[in-house]
């Protein structure tokens, strides 16, 4: 079940993506309305993270395209924020929590300019929003997993974007941090932002999100939570991969090159 939207903020058309030689997303095609808090759910290896990486242009796509605010991605990057997985960076890097949040302001500064007072104030405000103001000078390796995650979210807030893509923001996070983040995301969508979250827990999905995208190599469903979160669609998403898609993937792996790539 894929619910079409008339005036979408995000439109994904027939997107096919390979990771290395391994096809991981097949013909993804959906659109999102403005102001939703959307969850991307699916089993391990379903391509959830790859989907948002492909949207952000971090992975080469084989075919298909993405439009945001009815434009090319590169034309609207300043309005878009991406929160990578916490484990994807080395937290031993010599930086404080505030340094990391300030990174969210870099792209607006352009070359040659250093972040100044204005950027610092913004960063401090963003740390406050995630209840981390007491930790602004703490070395990032000394933060707990949940605190590191909140630093990442504060950095995204400092970008002052309109659409937020977050990769597993609840992974390895304690329950109180999870609640803090969820409240924040709900408030953001109330203020007119659109937030898309990769999420691994189906049980909390119905409480957190008002839009659900179900993924398992292909798109199973996309629509308002109350419409798509059904037993049947969950079974389709989590009840094992489509045997043929996996077999074709294996066949392509054996070829030594990717015939799906243009």
């Amino acid at each position: 079940m894929i619910v079409k939207v008339t005036k979408p903020v995000l439109e994904i058309h027939d997107l096919t993506v390979s990771y290395g030689k391994n096809p991981i997303l097949w013909n993804i095609d959906f659109s999102l309305p403005h102001g939703v808090l959307a969850g991307i759910i699916g089993p391990n290896g379903a391509g959830k993270s790859s989907l948002i990486k492909a949207i952000m242009g971090l992975l080469d796509v084989n075919s298909g395209y993405v439009r945001i605010f009815d434009s090319e991605m590169n034309a609207v990057r300043k309005k878009i924020s991406y929160v990578p997985q916490r484990e994807s960076v080395d937290w031993d890097f010599p930086a404080s929590a505030l340094d990391i949040v300030m990174m969210g302001t870099y792209h607006k500064l352009g070359l040659f300019k250093r972040p100044g007072k204005k950027e610092k104030e913004l960063a401090i405000k963003c740390l406050e929003k995630v209840n981390m103001s007491n930790f602004q000078d703490r070395q990032i390796s000394e933060l707990s997993g949940g605190q590191q995650q909140r630093v990442f979210i504060a950095r995204a807030l400092a970008q002052e974007a309109d659409i937020y893509f977050m990769d597993e923001p609840f992974a390895g996070v304690d329950i109180s941090t999870e609640n803090t983040i969820v409240e924040l995301l709900k408030k953001m969508t109330k203020d007119g932002k659109t937030v898309i979250v990769v999420h691994h827990d189906i049980h909390s999905a119905s409480r957190y999100f008002n839009w659900i995208i179900m993924l398992n190599l292909h798109l199973v469903a996309s629509g308002p939570t109350d419409k798509v979160l059904t037993e049947e669609l969950l079974q389709k998403t989590f009840g094992g991969k489509l045997a043929l898609l996996s077999d074709v993937g294996d066949l392509i792996k054996q070829k030594g090159f990717d015939p799906l790539k243009n």
Binding site: K53, P94, A95, M103, Y106, H107
Partner: protein, 429 residues
Amino acid sequence: MEEFIYFFSFKDPNIVLVVAGISLLSISAAMVGTFTFLDKKALVGDAISHAVLPGVCMAFMFAGNKNPYWIVLGAFTTGAISTYCISYISTTTKLKEDTVIAAVLSIFFGVGILLLTQLQQTGNAALSGLDHFLFGNAIAIVWEDLIVYGFIASFVIIILLVFYKEFKLIIFNAHFAESVGMPVRILRFVFNSLLVLAVVTGIQAIGVVLMAALLITPAAAARFWTNKLHVMLLLAVTFALFSGVAGAYISYVIPKMPTGPWVVMVISFLAFISFFFAKKKGMVSRWYSQRKYQKKIHMDHILKTLFLHWEKKQQGMTQGELINQFQGKASTTRQYINHLINKDHLSATEHYITLTPSGFTEAKRIVRLHRLWEVYLSKYLNLAPDHVHDMAEKMEHLLTPDLEAQLEASLDYPATDPHQSTIPRDHDV
């Protein structure tokens, strides 16, 4: 001593030349090296410093003399080719990066040595001192060299400062940098070029192979001292400057001494000092804080022993009784008892040692933490009462007041531990 004063008075224009040259190249190497180190690409720096050798030799063959322009061009070319080879092979094949780096390094260096041997056999007078390029000779720097190498080093320093925040972001989180529209690929290319250039500047003064040490070691040493990137950069630059100038000085005093090995000796010495003596992260400081913790444990145990004794008999212990509790540690125990008396935790009368009010509070706290942890283990980890003691023995020294409050709250202020002993609190008598 005279030589030392003469050298550092900078009266001799040649010395000024040498020091200026080696300072610039040390600064640029340490700065590029800091970013390379944080990017975990130290081995790439090593590979490049080996891979410039064939370029240097080919430049020789072509130009017929030690013209620095040709040498820089040759060195840059093979150095750049080697980085390109490393990234191309490791992204397109299944070979792991360390394998590729090792292979590229030895192939390029092998070819370099081959060419060098060939050149030396021709017996061309203009080629004498060619082996300086292996180990460096800062004293042999002439005006023309300084112009070329100094210009390159300054260029590297300026570009690094201009793109400081961009490089910082790419190294910490390249995907994020790409997501905000930074031209990550171009910037990486720029950075790799700077890395090759930084190695190239050291050919004459430090030598090709040893340049890797001046690239990475200052950063590694600086990392021990700080958690701030700009401080780390400054420290790395200071270390590199010091060792660069020291190496040049030694080459000046003993003209046959190659500069490179001495620079490496000095920077390694600084790295060793950092490794052992750095605040917090150094070996000595870690060893010291471990010692301090052990001392605290022992004193905690003395207080606890007195408390438990008082709990049973409502009186103090004689010094002999107390010391007997710690078999084989009589002298340290005596020492710590005195220490605790000085801290006003214990008081000693003629026969007895008793807890003072402040010592009593402290002893109570230790026993309380021990028993609370026992309750916690048996309640939340479902451990049997005879399994909880050993762990609590360790936790009693570790738990902070903050964690204690959490424990009390989550256990709902229990009255007794799993062995039915009362949990002592400050407000009870």
